[in-house]
């Protein structure tokens, strides 16, 4: 301890700057304390005031998002948001990023990301029932990208498989924009009864505070700060910020905490996530308007001679903090003993609004709880429309020489299907246990995953979507499109969208053009959430995603959960019955800007991406749900990347049967096949359902065109009577399923 700099040295040598604090922030801390902070205090302030914990750059933007709805039981501000699903039950969900740790140590980075998000869910009292993940890497032609991809997938599986929560869905995108700064976002969904909802409050002055879980080590110190700065060559030096997960211990901690909560004696419970003991203790005290005293000698430590600074800032995994009344202490201890999980009394709730740290009988830190949690300065960053926008948007996307003829167009379709962003993600999800718990009735691979709610006829549908390319080309429309697509994915399985959790992955907010992307895309998301009635109940912000000065595509990721009232109504994406009719809901325009077709065939990411007519989208989704409720449909699949040709091919591959499709319209053939106009769904239905479906669509004013019928082992698509696509389904499947394995085998 004698090695720690004194308050004077911290001031004179600007030690605080190494922790990411500015001069002005340091001054403000001195003011709050009425003196210069010592080493542990300045460390604590720096993590609490990091972007990761304080949202100091993003708060003004987050306030744009609608957060209320009649069914919202818990909105942003707790570990996870919670939404009612009727009959006294509710669903809790939240998303979290682990981008920077995954860039440095992909296996552990991703694994501990899963661990973190699980804690957020079960600390609310909810039992985790599903995990999802959203991944972005550079192209797999590069060895480093393959390594990151392979290890991230292994890490997610290694953790999720072991704790016994099924990983049921997600997305994976490959683009140069993410080379050097991959994105790893993970989402967890849990089930809870209304009367079990926990809040992380340190209530009841005098109540003891307990530490649960394995001993604290020197790992992950300053992880939150690490997450809030750009990656560069020195990032590897930040290795101590990498933590190792212990999914086995997590399983025990989870089961024991759920049992504790179930016993009804918990006053407050919170996970030790980012900024570990510091953040959990300060936030719990703050929410109760209380203070807390921590006796650091009692904190279980893995290494000898750990200092208060190290204990408070460690991000060792699988730890929780909870408060109970004195008379319930024995009961609590009993539970953890049975599960063989360490549980130690480390503090007590006080009434003075201070966080006091006692070590060897001495007070080594004395901080104002409010100051830590609520008084971080908020920054309204400068906003400037990036120069690139005019250039990319004005690109001519419709004047390329036409790709025509059945050979060329079929080859183009296979190329799009084999693009690793479009291609099947089986290579990924077969490494995840997506069936454990026995409720997964739509496995990964469809538009949305579906998990039954045991003991009821209900089921939950969930999807994760992001579209960095479109957001890059037009942040506002891209933001709208991201939300619209997530919701569309849910209605395609027959679920009514309930609410959103979002993860905002952006570059440095200190750059005005990045702040513009952030602001505009969130504004677009907000509008879409408003219109589609899916409030945002939580989320996460990950800024500073840059490598060597190059920012990633602005990538808001939306996780959405929907409810299926009657699981027997659920439908899938693949064609089902021979003789079924195929229909397109929604109109197709010439939207090639930012399309997979342009990227794959013309090597260009440019043009204005499709704009989103939210009213039309709402009508489409409503129509879809009415059709599902009426039991009219055999299948439905959202039309997005790769346009109609790709969507129909995917339906054929998933259903293991062909179709004969005839498209008509004013568009050029290749454009008609590959345009990415939003707001479209391709459905199939038995012939007897034809009129009823037409009536529902007409009633809502949703364009519907019958385009063909299901059957055979070939897919053929004509455009205005000219043959465009002709292929055995098996060959399409080979392109689609083989794309990622072939790239990985090349290693």
């Amino acid at each position: 301890m004698s090695m720690e700099p004194t308050p004077e040295e911290i001031r004179d040598h600007r030690v605080y700057a190494d922790f990411g604090l500015t001069d002005a922030e340091y001054e403000l801390i001195c003011e709050k304390l009425g003196r210069a902070p010592n080493y542990v205090e300045v460390g604590i302030f720096s993590v609490m005031w990091s972007e990761h914990c304080s949202y100091k750059n993003s708060r003004p933007v987050l306030s744009l998002l609608p957060t209320k709805g009649p069914h919202v039981l818990v909105g942003p501000g707790e570990g996870a948001g919670i939404v009612d699903i009727g009959d006294g039950q509710a669903v809790a969900f939240k998303i979290e990023s682990h981008n920077h740790p995954s860039a440095v140590e992909p296996y552990q980075g991703a694994a501990t990301g899963v661990g973190g998000i699980l804690r957020d869910i079960f600390s609310m009292g909810a039992r985790p029932v599903a995990l999802l993940n959203s991944l972005r890497f550079g192209p797999l032609s590069d060895g480093r990208n393959r390594y990151l991809f392979e290890r991230v997938v292994e890490g997610i599986g290694g953790y999720g498989n072991c704790v016994g929560v099924p990983t049921v869905g997600g997305e994976a995108v490959f683009d140069d924009a993410y080379s050097g700064n991959p994105l790893v976002n993970v989402m967890c969904v849990g089930l809870i009864d209304h009367d079990q909802i926990q809040k992380g409050v340190a209530g009841g002055v005098g109540n003891p505070v307990f530490y649960v879980g394995p001993a604290t080590g020197r790992d992950g110190i300053h992880g939150a700060t690490f997450a809030s700065e750009e990656l560069n060559e020195e990032s590897e030096e930040r290795r101590p910020a990498v933590q190792v997960g212990d999914p086995f211990m997590k399983k025990l901690v989870m089961e024991s905490c759920l049992e504790l909560i179930d016993s009804g004696i918990v006053v407050g419970i919170q996970d030790m996530g980012a900024a570990g003991l510091t953040c959990s203790s300060a936030e719990m005290a703050s929410k109760a308007g209380n203070g807390m005293e921590l006796y650091l000698d009692r904190v279980p430590c893995r290494a000898e001679g750990m200092t208060p600074y190290e204990m408070m800032l460690s991000e060792s995994q699988e730890r929780m903090l909870f408060v109970v009344r004195p008379e319930h202490v024995d009961r609590a201890r009993e539970i953890f003993e049975r599960w063989e999980v360490p549980c130690v009394e480390v503090g007590k709730v006080t009434d003075d609004g201070r966080l006091r740290l006692i070590f060897h009988g001495e007070e080594v830190g004395d901080l104002p709880v409010r100051g830590l949690v609520d008084d971080c300065p908020v920054y309204e960053r400068a906003v400037e429309r990036p120069g690139y926008l005019d250039m990319v948007q004005s690109a001519e996307t419709l004047n390329d020489p036409e790709i025509a003829g059945v050979q060329e167009l079929t080859a183009a379709l296979k190329a799009v299907l084999a693009d690793h962003t479009v291609a099947s993600k089986r290579w990924i999800y077969e490494q995840f246990d997506h069936m454990v718990q026995g409720n997964t009735v739509q496995a990964p691979g469809g538009d949305a995953a579906v998990v039954e709610v045991q003991g009821t006829r209900k089921a939950l549908a969930m999807a994760l979507d992001g579209d960095g390319r479109h957001v890059f080309l037009d942040p506002y429309e891209g933001g709208k499109a991201t939300v619209a697509e997530a919701a569309r994915n849910l209605v395609c399985v027959g679920a009514r969208p309930l609410a959103v959790t979002d993860n905002l992955n952006f570059g440095s907010p200190e750059r005005p053009e990045i702040y513009f992307q952030l602001h505009q895309s969130v504004a677009g998301m907000a509008e879409a959430c408003e219109v589609l009635k899916t409030p945002v109940i939580g989320g996460n912000v990950s800024l500073y995603n840059e490598h060597a000065g190059q920012a990633i595509y602005p990538t808001p990721v939306v996780g959405m959960v929907g409810l299926i009232e009657d699981r027997d109504r659920m439908i899938g994406a693949g064609f089902r019955g021979d003789g079924d009719l195929v229909a397109v809901l929604g109109a197709t325009g010439a939207d090639l800007g930012g399309s997979a077709f342009r990227a794959v065939l013309h090597g260009a990411v440019d043009g204005a991406p499709p704009s989103v007519d939210l009213q039309a989208e709402a009508r489409l989704q409503d129509t879809m749900l009415r059709a599902v409720e009426a039991g009219l449909l055999s299948s439905a699949h959202d039309c997005s990347h790769g346009g109609l040709a790709t969507t129909i091919a995917e339906k054929a591959i998933a259903g293991g049967r062909g179709a004969n499709v005839r498209l008509k319209g004013d568009l050029r053939g290749d454009h008609h096949l590959f345009s990415e106009t939003t707001g479209r769904i391709v459905v199939s239905a038995p012939p007897e359902a034809k009129e009823a479906l037409e009536a529902i669509a007409a009633d809502a004013g949703v364009p519907l065109s019958w385009v063909g019928e299901v059957g055979g082992e070939e897919l053929t698509i004509t455009v205005n009577d000219e043959l465009g696509i002709e292929s055995a389904v098996a060959d399409l499947r080979d392109a689609y399923e083989g794309a990622i394995p072939r790239r990985m085998e090349k290693a």
């Binding site: 292994e154 599986g157 290694g158 498989n161 072991c162 704790v163 016994g164 212990d246 999914p247 086995f248 211990m249 399983k251 025990l252 599960w339 063989e340 999800y429 077969e430 490494q431 995840f432 246990d433 997506h434 069936m435 454990v436 718990q437 026995g438 997964t440 009735v441 039954e452 045991q454 699981r567």
Partner: protein, 225 residues
């Protein structure tokens, strides 16, 4: 039928197995904590899948020393029906109740997918509801399911009719496509695929329910097949 499902620290298919058993009319299923030492009175004891003790060191290596395992051995010796699924199979191997050992999958990757099994013996108490040569749909989910035994043991397994289930399309590199084997007396079965995940049409298959059903038939018939 009275069944017990053992929960080791880290088991994660224990609830699923209980649920699968409870769906059988006339079956009563108890959850038994690994620290318990009494398994008397059960007709069936299930060691479920999961990651007992994190599968650290080797899968099943630590769980085999759980207090409950001595009781399990006793019951096995008495001829009580014992079913080890996935991690449960691994525990039975480590405990020496079944011959052989598990290696990491040949792909070195965890694999979770529906799988086609071929019924090699339809005369065991676990497979009596099937025909020999029939194919079943039962999913696998494991990282260490690559069964190994030496040639001599393999010969014996085949000779004694101990191989009950084979993979139609080997997902993990197992010797002789082995998916499930019994001990010599035929009362202990270990299998990597998860029958409890194939118990409802909505899950994609009901073939797993027939495995539990066959055991039920056996027990109901007073322990004679």
């Amino acid at each position: 039928m009275k069944a017990a499902v053992i929960t080791f620290p880290g088991s994660n298919c224990d609830r699923d197995c209980l649920r699968a058993l409870e769906e059988i009319p006339g079956c009563e299923a108890d959850s038994v904590w690994h620290a318990d030492q009494d398994l008397a009175g059960y007709d069936l004891i299930v060691l479920p899948g999961g990651f007992s003790y994190g599968d650290y060191l080797r899968s099943g290596a630590i769980a085999r020393f759980s207090p409950v395992m001595a009781a399990l051995k006793r019951e096995a010796d008495r001829g009580v029906t014992i079913l080890g699924i996935c991690n449960g199979f691994q525990v039975l191997l480590e405990a020496g109740l079944l011959p052989g050992a598990m290696r990491r999958n040949q792909s070195l990757k965890f694999v979770c997918k529906p799988c086609e099994l071929v019924v090699d013996r339809a005369d065991s108490r676990f497979s009596s509801r099937f025909q020999e040569g029939q194919t079943l749909q039962v999913p696998v989910a494991h990282g260490e399911g690559n069964y190994y035994c030496d040639d001599e043991t393999l010969k014996r397994l085949h000779g004694e009719g101990q191989v009950v289930f084979r993979y139609a399309d080997n997902p993990n590199g197992s010797v002789a496509d082995i998916a499930g084997i019994t001990n010599e007396t035929g009362n202990v079965l270990g299998m990597m695929p998860h029958p409890e995940r194939a118990t409802r049409a909505r899950l994609g298959s009901v073939d797993g329910a027939e495995i539990f059903g066959a055991i039920f038939d056996f027990v109901s018939a007073g322990g004679k097949s």
